[in-house]
């Protein structure tokens, strides 16, 4: 384990069993890795200075009980970035262990906390090996179909990419493949400001949602056209989320996966020309439709 210090910051959600699980995971983590520093969210939130110096020079693992993400916010308010963000609701779904009805955890939930703690430690170890594997991708010139609807300009690469009807693409390169969003989807999202990546090593099935990207208008998920395992994420998107808007098929790639069985996935996907047809009608028909809905919602 790399030498620099690691901090663990659970949320303090006492009113929900999900929050109590978050706390339990933190305690289990410290049991397994005593060298980790446990940060008390209440003291941190009170503006007390004890942790400031330590936080500046450590990797911070935040553990959120629900999507309000109080621990993440506590860290981001200090202009810091969590090294790892653990979301208990997603993990309880992943291991399909229902949060207990009452606030004192049943053994199922305690077992879940142990599994998550082990997961985090295993993930930390292999995250370090995979971290340096994210080579910058050099993208060659390629040809595009394009169309303008009102003042919006949409492109679709002619070859090498495959698409699902959720407007995401997959670019197979031998045993691995890149995933990203189409020009159409980046336009629907408008200026993307935040990206949330899945964990490296996570197994994904075709059409699973794989991370999300957020603009002032909406939060959208990348719905994977292929199945496999996450082996890399595009770290450049954190300081430059606008790459997804400006260059969605190249510099704006989102994650890389190791492919399970692309031949099978391929059956349910469209190639460039097919997707261009699909997107053309959708852009024209849906734009009219969405304009109406949006205007009704604002009135």
């Amino acid at each position: 384990m790399a030498e620099e210090n690691i901090c663990v910051l659970p949320c303090n959600g006492l009113d929900k069993s999900l929050g109590v699980i978050a706390r339990e995971v933190a305690l289990k983590l410290i049991e397994k890795a005593p060298e980790f520093n446990l940060i008390c969210p209440v003291l941190l939130n009170s503006g007390d200075k004890t942790y400031e110096e330590l936080l500046q020079k450590s990797k911070i693992i935040v553990i959120n009980g629900c999507i309000t993400r109080c621990s993440t916010k506590l860290i981001e308010q200090r202009g810091l970035k969590p090294f790892k963000q653990i979301m208990i609701p997603n993990l309880s779904k992943k291991y399909n262990v229902k949060p207990s009805k009452t606030l004192n955890l049943d053994d199922e939930n305690v077992k879940l906390a142990v599994i998550i703690a082990d997961d985090i430690i295993k993930n930390l170890e292999n995250a370090e090996q995979i971290e340096d594997k994210t080579a910058t991708r050099d993208f060659q010139e390629q040809e595009y179909f394009d169309i303008t609807v009102d003042k919006y300009y949409f492109t679709v690469p002619k070859k090498g990419y495959f698409f699902n009807e959720n407007d995401c693409w997959i670019k197979p390169q031998g045993k691995t493949a890149l995933l990203g969003i189409t020009d159409y989807l980046q336009n629907a999202a408008s200026d993307i400001l935040f990206v949330d990546f899945p964990d490296i090593g996570k197994d994904i099935g075709q059409f699973d949602d794989v991370g999300s990207f957020e603009s002032s208008k909406t939060v959208l998920q990348l719905i994977s056209p292929g199945s496999g395992r996450i082996i890399a994420v595009n770290k450049d998107l954190e300081p430059h989320p606008e790459y997804m808007n400006q260059d969605p098929y190249n510099k704006g790639w989102f994650v890389e996966i190791e492919l399970d069985n692309f031949e099978e996935d391929r059956e349910l996907l469209m190639n460039g020309p097919e997707y261009f047809e699909y997107m053309k009608n959708k852009a024209i028909e849906e734009k009219e439709h969405l304009d109406k809905l949006r205007s009704e919602k604002d009135v």
Partner: protein, 140 residues
């Protein structure tokens, strides 16, 4: 030499809320934080090539505030005036304060949009001081 001023040129975008953050930030700096030292200038006039405004900017300090990666204010002031003393992006302040995600409303702007504009205004106001301080050294 007449007392130096700092001219602030927001990008005047009206398609997205990021333009409004730039405008609101400029109002706060010019009307409150740096009253008398900072003045607002109008980008469309600069793009149109209004001589007297471009001369004015050349003789004083210029700060541009852009609302999206296309940087219309930065690019056009560089083209017409030839220099920019400091540049800000409203999307930076948005990214640093994820819990104050701006509402997409433009007229009137939402609460979070105001909070972000205040935060950015404080940062711009510090830059106004810096720019005016080293002009004093130059004059002595």
């Amino acid at each position: 030499m007449s007392e130096q001023k700092v001219y602030i040129v927001p990008c005047s975008g009206i398609g997205k809320v990021f333009g409004s953050i730039g405008r609101e930030t400029t109002y706060i700096v010019v009307n409150e934080l740096e009253r008398g030292k900072a003045k607002l200038e109008c980008l469309p006039l600069i793009i149109k090539g209004k001589k007297e405004i471009i001369e004015q900017l050349k003789e004083n300090k210029v700060i541009v505030i852009d609302g999206c990666p296309l940087k219309c204010s930065y690019n056009n002031v560089m083209e017409q005036v030839g220099k920019v003393d400091a540049q800000f992006m409203t999307t930076d302040i948005v990214k640093e304060n994820r819990e104050f995600k701006p509402e997409s409303a433009i007229i009137p702007i939402g609460e979070n949009t105001k909070v972000l504009s205040q935060k950015l205004a404080e940062r711009v106001s510090k830059k106004v001081h810096e720019l005016l301080e080293n002009t004093e050294e130059v004059n002595d």
